[in-house]
Amino acid sequence: MKKAIRIIAAALICAVLAPGLSGCAEKIDFGDEVYKNKKYAGESIFFNISSRILLSGYMSKPDNIYPACIDPFCDHSTESCAARTESPITATLTVLPEGRKLPLVYLCCQRWPTKVVDGEEVLLSAHEREMSIVKQFDAETGQAKTFEPVELMNIRSALLYRGILYLSADGFLGEGYRGRVGALDVLTGKCTYLSEENGARLIGAYDGRIYVMTGRGVVESCEPDFSDLCAVYDCQTGGYVNSYVDEGMLYFARSKTDVPAGNSTKTVFEVCAVDLKNKDAEAVTVASGVYVFMPYEGDLYYTLFEYNEHGTVSVSGYGEETVVSYDNGTLYRYDAEKGTSETCFSDIGASFSDIYDIDDGMILFSGARYRDFDEGKSTYLRIAICSIETGEWRELFADDEEEYL
């Protein structure tokens, strides 16, 4: 009886205290899929504006924009907002592992350069200022987890493979900013770094190996734990170039040329493809005069440079602007299997200055509207979405909308 009383008393105390202690970390199974350059996940589109991530409702109704944070009491203006970072976001990655309805979003940003010590704001050391912060936002729970700062400056892209978040950054103090790749274990928060004396940038993952491009233009691959680093292909560019490894295909810009575009110049590329599945494969030229390019499911989607002026428009608060386009609104696809290029759509009335993501038959891009523009409104497209099949496109988020969210 005495024991029973003690046990009941202990249980009572536990009952009073225990509920608050629940909510342990859940281990997520990411499978073997390579998640990269993603802003789409399932039906949802996440994109970053400054230091916040916004959610475009869903694919079937993409022009409804909401703050990704679902706390109705949050004003999304401070770091306590789950979908906000302490400084502008430099890279995001959206992943939807098997069995989840809503994705996880990884947000990368630089550390805020100051901190408060004893009520006073003091500047961080140069070393600390160069570090980056990675935050994991879970859209299913609306909660976020911030990892310990990583020794990477300006994270440019991220890729997730088997629970490891690979981060590609500009480098770090004392290393000459030659490019640096880190691997952050999203379960433990431990970060390791690739040791490459010429610096490295992440370009993809395929068949259980991670691919990087060194500061001398050599593509190297290694195991997911950065062991067994070996050269795969020498692009002979002498330095970094835009490059991707996707489904065993390496795409890289072999040469770049500055061409006149109105009062300034723009850079165009000769893009090559190498089939990494074939050890003896040589680089094949996909196209010359390429303005932007992005691989998807092994194929390459690209536009060709073509400068055009389409008249002028009067923009409220800015005066007259010349409407220009740097391509003719045409998208091409290089079929890696056949080795040929074809036109996806042509002259859609909008040009592409950057392609953020391609998925599920849609392209997320920024660019300019050069047809059917309205007087008083900027022709700049901050975030727009376009169907590969039909070329139909619409603007998701305009510059002047930010203040309303």
């Binding site: 009886m1 009383i5 003690r6 009941i8 008393a9 009572l12 105390i13 009952a15 009073v16 205290l17 509920p19 608050g20 202690l21 629940s22 909510g23 399932g42 039906e43 949802s44 959610l55 409702g57 869903y58 079937s60 109704k61 409804n64 909401y66 679902i70 109705p72 009491f73 309805k101 809503l102 961080l124 050391s125 140069a126 070393h127 600390e128 570090m131 299913e140 729970t141 609306g142 909660q143 020794e151 103090l173 004392g174 000459g176 900013y177």
Partner: protein, 820 residues
């Protein structure tokens, strides 16, 4: 009822209990004043009774004499337009740099002929004129507030509705988060439909300050912890018990009566603390508009309550939480019948609840702790908790949990009290020994034998009386906590920047800063400064573009500039230390050392060991209380000793010697553990043991004392200083004869000044004896307080003061022992 009356009468008769309640009230209200009232700028409207009354008067005038007010407002608005125009003019003449932090003042406007004379005529009692703009702004806000609050609720409904729509679109209706959003939507939609009619222009003031005070329950619980001990542990001294014990109904009824008394104390405590808070708030702010919707104060509150209603609900919640805490503590007390176990368990329960409050990223579940349940956290916004895959309102869950805990603990308390052999048995702990012995046979057996065999040596007897199994258990538990705390402190991760700083310092500069090394330091600094001059990058780039260097050379030189920038930054961080060492040499002739102090400071600058303090307090505060809480027929010494003067004297000497020795051993154990862990985790300690401790700026006044010497001195201080503390506990125990007041008195003497210093009363450092217990703090404060011109006078004064208090207590005990 008669028994309850008797119990209450008995409680009201314990004067020190009410003195403790009074002191708790003063402390609680003092902290409230300090945190929420003391810093407020009373020159603004709404912030004190006087300006609040004026604002009220202005609103009345707006209704009674609208034309007059409209005229004044017109002229004020004309002034604002003119002032804006002139301000713009002034700003347009300034550069961007000059504009940073610049503000156009009334004086500047007056120079440009823009003057406004306050026409409303509100003057404070001290003669200062309250600007008209304050009243106009208040009036504008008054109308806007009601509108904005409704809009805020609308926003919540819109946001949750939007989120639900998104989840529906991706087929995620089965996710808990969808249920979460729909609950919010439902709750606030319901509120919105009722709230619209209730909102009206209002500006409630005063009361909100009360609800911000989230530390309130801590004071209530601290007092109730002591009170529960008084009610349930001091019973053995009551002569009526043998009579009550004879009937089973008597026992159960007595236990129920005690429970009733305890709940009365809980209610009284909360009401007393709340009343004091209310009085202070009223004196400072005045309290108005109690019938306005509470959303004026807590805009996220999902319940349709007036401010008065909200206040009543919060008070009821506080009472309920206090009652639960008291019952749980009383239950522990009645099961264990041990002051030590009760107080430690009570403190642990509070600690765990505080930790829960900070865990869970502010989710509803983390609000289910006695601290949040004891204030308005549950009412101020709608919180939900995920329970078995479903969301439940946290308030409902919290209330259910509190009620269930109250009923269960109350019933258990009565059941435990109703049993024949319980509560009033001599010592329940002793009964536990056979069970423990079966597992830990030899040690427990020896202990048990000693407890029952009355050793011939009085000294050994007194030591064993102090170190009961419960006390030993408590000491081991606290030692383990102390070790855990030390491990956390010494192995706390160092930021990469500091690791780099330490490595650089150890590789290049650690050692004595002789004149030669100082010259080397300056030379290196100049070299690096030359390499990293402002246009270094541009120069290098132009050399490369002119073809003077190759790309490889360019990269190599670029690297050297970057690493030089890195190194000069490190050198600059050492510069203040170097400057301090040069000043030290010039002023005292001591040649200091450069060394990284990040880790060493963790060891040198140690605060008081709270775990040791708690151990000493709870063990030695019991020194005399058993003499007065046990009857002679229950087998204690007191009755026998009381009969002979010499016996009492001898017993006094033995008791105080036992206390001194035990406390010394206890302190040595705690200190040794902490010191060993510190030394093991301080990498470069061996290299700098012979360095003068004054090399660190904080210890600049300590002359040529070495780091090793400083460590040894503080370790000795941290050990022996607990002897006077233990003696003080014994004296207090002798003076008041009961554990709770003894604990209270010694805690007040030691920890109250510590808390006051922490709260910003530096003068309390003169009586903060925890500095003696902390060791290094005593020495550093000497540098801060140049008492009578000597650098160690403060140290000596505080040390002597502390010893004198303990000695006075000892002498008092000695004198009274002879007469008792």
């Amino acid at each position: 009822m008669k028994l309850l009356g008797y119990e209450l009468k008995k409680l009201f008769g314990i004067k020190y209990l009410w003195v403790m309640l009074l002191l708790t009230t003063v402390l609680c209200t003092g902290l409230y004043y300090y945190l929420y009232i003391g810093d407020i700028n009373f020159s603004e409207p709404y912030y004190d009774r006087e300006s609040n009354a004026m604002t009220e008067d202005f609103f009345r005038r707006c209704e009674n004499e609208p034309e007059t007010i409209a005229q004044v407002r017109e002229s004020y608005e004309a002034y604002v337009i003119e002032a804006d125009r002139v301000s713009e003019e002034i700003r347009s003449t300034m550069t961007k740099d000059e504009l940073v932090g610049f503000r156009v003042t009334d004086e500047m406007l007056a120079e440009h002929g823009v003057i406004y004379e306050n026409k409303l005529g509100y003057v404070r009692k001290d003669g200062t004129v309250v600007p008209d703009k304050n009243f106009f702004e208040a009036y504008s806000l008054r109308g806007l507030t009601a509108e904005s609050l409704i809009k805020h609720v609308d926003d919540i409904i819109y946001l949750t509705g939007g989120a639900m729509e998104r989840f529906e679109a991706v087929g995620a209706e089965e996710l808990p988060i969808y249920e979460y959003e729909s609950h919010y939507n439902e709750v606030y939609s319901s509120l919105r439909s009722k709230l619209a009619d209730k909102m009206r222009p209002a500006e409630p003031r005063g009361m909100e300050n009360m609800f911000w005070y989230r530390e309130f329950p801590l004071f209530a619980y601290a007092f109730l912890l002591l009170a529960s001990g008084v009610i349930f542990l001091n019973e053995r001294s009551v002569g009526l018990l043998p009579v009550i014990r004879t009937t089973r109904g008597g026992r159960a009824r007595t236990a129920a009566a005690k429970l009733g008394a305890l709940l009365t104390v809980a209610v009284l405590t909360v009401l007393c603390l709340t009343a004091a808070q209310l009085i202070v708030t009223y004196i400072k702010f005045g309290i108005t508009f109690g019938d306005a919707p509470v959303q004026y104060m807590c805009r996220n509150c999902p319940y349709l309550l007036t401010i008065n209603g909200y206040f009543i609900c919060v008070t009821l919640l506080r009472i309920l939480a206090a009652a639960v805490f008291s019952c749980v503590v009383a239950l522990i007390a009645s099961v264990t019948v041990s002051h030590i176990v009760t107080y430690i368990s009570g403190a642990l329960i509070l600690g765990v609840n505080i930790v829960i409050g900070y865990s869970g990223n502010g989710t509803g579940l983390s609000a289910l702790n006695l601290i949040d349940l004891g204030n308005d956290a549950l009412l101020s916004k709608y919180d939900e908790s995920l329970l078995f895959g479903h969301f439940v309102g946290t308030l409902a869950l919290g209330m259910a949990l509190l009620s269930l805990s109250l009923v269960l603990s109350g019933a258990l308390l009565v059941a435990v009290g109703g049993r024949r052999s319980h509560i009033y048995a001599p010592s329940r702990i002793r009964k536990l020994i056979p069970a423990i012995r079966s597992k830990f046979a030899s040690a427990a057996e020896k202990l048990a034998r000693r407890r029952h065999s009355y050793p011939s040596s009085l000294f050994v007897w007194e030591v064993s009386r102090l170190m009961t199994p419960a006390a030993v258990f408590a000491a081991i538990l606290l030692l383990a906590l102390s070790v855990y705390s030390s491990v956390s402190r010494y192995t706390e991760s160092t930021p990469p920047s500091l690791i780099k700083y330490e490595e650089y310092l150890n590789e290049n500069w650690t050692g004595e800063l002789t004149d030669e090394r100082y010259a080397q330091f300056l030379k290196r600094y100049d070299e690096l400064a030359l390499l990293t001059k402002d246009n270094a990058h541009e120069e290098l780039m132009s050399r490369y573009t002119r073809g003077e260097i190759t790309f490889e050379e360019y990269i190599e030189l670029l690297d050297s500039i970057e690493s030089a920038s890195d190194e000069i930054e490190l050198l600059e961080s050492i510069l203040p230390q170097v400057e301090h060492l040069r000043a030290l040499k010039a002023e005292t002739g001591v040649t200091g050392w450069i060394f990284p102090d990040t880790h060493i400071m963790r060891l040198l600058n140690r605060d008081i060991n709270f775990f040791l303090l708690i151990a000493v307090l709870i063990i030695f505060s019991r020194m005399y209380s058993p003499d007065y809480s046990k009857k002679s027929f229950e087998g204690d010494f007191a009755a026998i000793l009381r009969t002979a003067k010499n016996g009492r004297r001898k017993n006094f000497v033995v008791r105080f010697s036992a206390a001194a020795l035990t406390s010394l051993i206890l302190a040595a154990l705690f200190e040794a553990a902490d010191l060993c862990l510190g030394i093991a985790n301080t990498g470069n300690l061996a290299d700098v043991l012979s360095a003068p401790v004054s090399s660190i700026e904080l210890y600049g006044s300590l002359g040529s004392m070495t780091v090793g010497g400083f460590l040894a001195l503080t370790a000795v201080l941290r050990t022996i200083s607990y002897v006077p503390l233990a003696l003080l506990c014994c004296s207090a125990s002798f003076a008041v004869k009961k554990v709770p007041p003894t604990l209270f008195i010694v805690t007040m003497i030691t920890l109250l000044p510590y808390v006051l210093v922490y709260m910003g009363f530096p003068k309390m450092m003169y009586v903060d004896f925890t500095a003696v217990l902390a060791g290094s703090k005593l020495l550093t404060r000497s540098a801060q307080f140049d008492v009578l011109g000597g650098s160690f006078t403060f140290t000596a004064a505080l040390l002597v003061g502390f010893v004198l208090i303990a000695a006075a207590g000892t002498l008092y005990t000695l004198r009274k022992t002879g007469k008792d």
